[in-house]
């Protein structure tokens, strides 16, 4: 029943045709993100579009999960710390057939399982509840610690990984740095963080609001294994996660350089689209652009 990643190792097993399929899933995620946000009239397009490739790679290659049981005790865990990008995760869940595609347009509506920010109690495919920033790394560290040290009698625990997706702006929060120290101290090699390095946050660029650079050096100084990749390249994402899994003594971070608003030219690299939903006309233009591209 395992979906996604079926083999362990340091080499990429995905063939070019598999990669093409994942890229197509990412494109469908982007289209649905635009439809969802336009219908809801609120949401965060830049990060959601920027992370589409990461989510597609997660659900169609990297994550080991059981499509019939979100609580399968042998599954990998994906923690979304940057809760405002959850539309991309909802779209990926629909793409993977875990929730109905029609449900996507209920985003943020009364009674919907698809809350504006992710809520685990309403949708068990989400591993945590998030939105208030800076708490994903530490929750993931708690899970990784427990699985490493207290599930160790169970051979399946050795093959379980805890992935966490954080924004870059949210690294302003101090809780993250507490978590980085804890993960390094406890050699949480089963923990893999992906930082959505898109250089924007609500009030401007990350380097204007609160400089993060040199970000790779900061992680290294905190005892983490660091990789820097093109976060909009599916193959790079899959490759980097395989290398991160091979690093067993240290927690790993992948600084995934993404283009915020990726795929919609008037949104790309513009921080004003961090937290503003497209209106009907803008959504139409965006969808035209995304539909013109077919892989």
């Amino acid at each position: 029943m395992t979906r996604g990643r079926t083999t362990l190792g340091t080499t990429v097993t995905s063939s070019p045709s598999q990669l093409g399929a994942i890229e197509r899933h990412a494109l469908c995620i982007r289209r649905n993100v635009i439809r969802m946000l336009a219908t809801a009239g609120s949401g965060h397009p830049a990060g959601s579009l920027g992370l589409a490739d990461v989510f597609a790679a997660m659900y169609f290659d990297i994550l080991k999960y059981n499509p019939t049981d979100p609580n399968d005790p042998t599954r990998d865990i994906l923690v979304l710390s940057a809760g405002h990008t959850v539309p991309a995760q909802y779209a990926a869940l629909a793409e993977a057939g875990l929730i109905p595609e029609e449900e996507l347009l209920t985003l943020g509506k009364f009674g919907s399982r698809l809350q504006g920010h992710p809520e685990r109690q309403r949708l068990p495919w989400l591993e945590t509840t998030s939105g208030p920033l800076g708490c994903g790394l530490s929750q993931a560290a708690g899970m990784a610690y427990a699985i490493k040290n207290w599930h160790s009698d169970d051979p399946a625990s050795k093959k379980r990984y805890i992935y966490v997706i954080t924004g870059d702006g949210e690294l302003d929060e101090g809780n993250n740095w507490e978590a980085l120290m804890f993960a390094a101290k406890n050699a949480l090699g089963n923990m893999i963080a992906i930082v959505d390095r898109n250089h924007i946050q609500i009030d401007g660029t990350t380097e204007d609001v609160m400089p993060l650079e040199p970000l790779d050096d900061k992680f290294r100084a905190f005892g983490w294994h660091v990789q820097q990749i093109d976060g909009n390249n599916v193959e790079s994402i899959i490759d980097a996660c395989a290398l991160a899994r091979a690093e067993t003594e240290r927690p790993s971070v992948i600084l995934a350089y993404t283009t915020p608003g990726k795929g919609v030219d008037f949104m790309e690299d513009d921080y004003k689209w961090h937290g503003k939903a497209p209106n009907a006309e803008e959504a139409k233009r965006a969808l035209r652009m995304l539909e013109a591209r077919d892989l």
């Binding site: 109690q121 509840t129 599930h151």
Partner: protein
């Protein structure tokens, strides 16, 4: 003179017992292992004890992650820091996420003494009782605190447990019942109901003895679970005596006395046509604490047997 012990010491012993009973029980501390009496657990179960350093936001969110993969984490610090500093993390990752994390707020109240206002947490009951899904418990003495630890380990909800630093009189015994959500009538009376939570119950019991010599029959109700309140026991007593005093080592705004007031008013226990009924809260009234001995501070802020007696006699005049 009653035997003395602190609720944190009792809880620390109870946590060891809970660890013996269940393998899912784990403990986390934030550089205050002995202060929160977790050293007993850490010595007995070193493999199930985790030190996170001076990082209360990390403390509770790591605990939330551990709960997510099947454990019952007890996360201990001073109440002033947890939930004082990390309230939002508790709200989002534990309460809204409904994880069975046990937040231990030790050194609550004025009784931490010389450390002063920064460390004298007087707002934690208010902070925690407004949080959906959260259970709030203030054990009355060290023996009850042991039972609280065991009961919390068996409870699948998020819990907040409020503990005290100073030794206080033991009024219960090994056979006394404790169940989450129950209040206990420790002494029956007919003139006034005194509702007490935490270690204030010992003061109320002593006051009842003295009041009897003044021909006032006080009913003492110990309310260790502040949320959810035991409405039946509380309303039955309030309807019987008609006069109510509450006492807590906490701000009177938003705390235990406020919770009792809300319950009584909404159940028409204080109906408009019965002006004879009276209600008084004893607690800290919109002030911070300060340095001093525990005894000096409790006296200064009116948390004494003498003050309970004074207020009861005023009410019944």
């Amino acid at each position: 003179m009653a035997e003395l012990d602190s609720t944190r010491a009792g809880f620390g012993r109870g946590l060891v017992a809970a660890g013996e009973k269940g393998k899912r029980v784990v403990a986390l501390a934030a550089d205050l292992v002995e202060s929160v009496q977790m050293h007993l657990f850490a010595e007995k179960f070193p493999e199930r004890f985790v030190e996170v350093g001076i990082a209360e936001q990390n403390l509770v969110t790591i605990a939330s992650g551990m709960a997510h993969v099947g454990f019952i984490p007890f996360a201990g610090s001073y109440a002033a820091f947890s939930p004082g500093r990390n309230w939002e993390q508790i709200r989002t990752t534990i309460a809204l996420n409904n994880q069975p994390v046990k937040i231990i707020g030790s050194h609550a109240g004025l009784n931490v003494g010389p450390d002063g206002a920064t460390h004298q947490m007087l707002e934690d009951i208010a902070l925690m009782r407004v949080m959906p899904n959260m259970v709030v418990i203030a054990p009355g003495d060290a023996i009850e605190a042991e039972k609280v630890a065991l009961a919390c380990a068996a409870d699948e909800r998020p819990n907040y447990i409020r503990l005290t630093r100073e030794k206080s009189p033991i009024f219960s015994d090994a056979d006394a019942p404790f169940e989450i959500g129950k209040a206990y009538v420790l002494r029956e009376g007919r003139d006034v109901s005194i509702f007490a939570t935490g270690t204030m119950t010992a003061l109320a019991l002593a006051a009842a003895e003295e009041l009897l010599s003044q021909n006032i029959s006080a009913e003492i109700i110990h309310v260790p679970t502040i949320k959810p309140l035991d409405a039946d026991t509380i309303l039955t007593s309030a309807q019987k005596t008609g006069h109510i005093i509450t006492i807590e080592e906490h701000q009177i705004a938003g705390g235990f006395g406020s919770a009792i007031a809300e319950l009584l008013i909404e159940n028409n226990t204080f109906a408009r046509n019965d002006p004879a009924k009276k209600f008084r809260r004893i607690g800290v009234d919109d002030q911070f604490g300060q340095s001093g001995t525990a005894a000096e501070l409790l006296e200064h802020y009116g948390l004494t047997t003498e003050n309970i007696i004074k207020i009861a006699t005023e009410l019944l005049k």
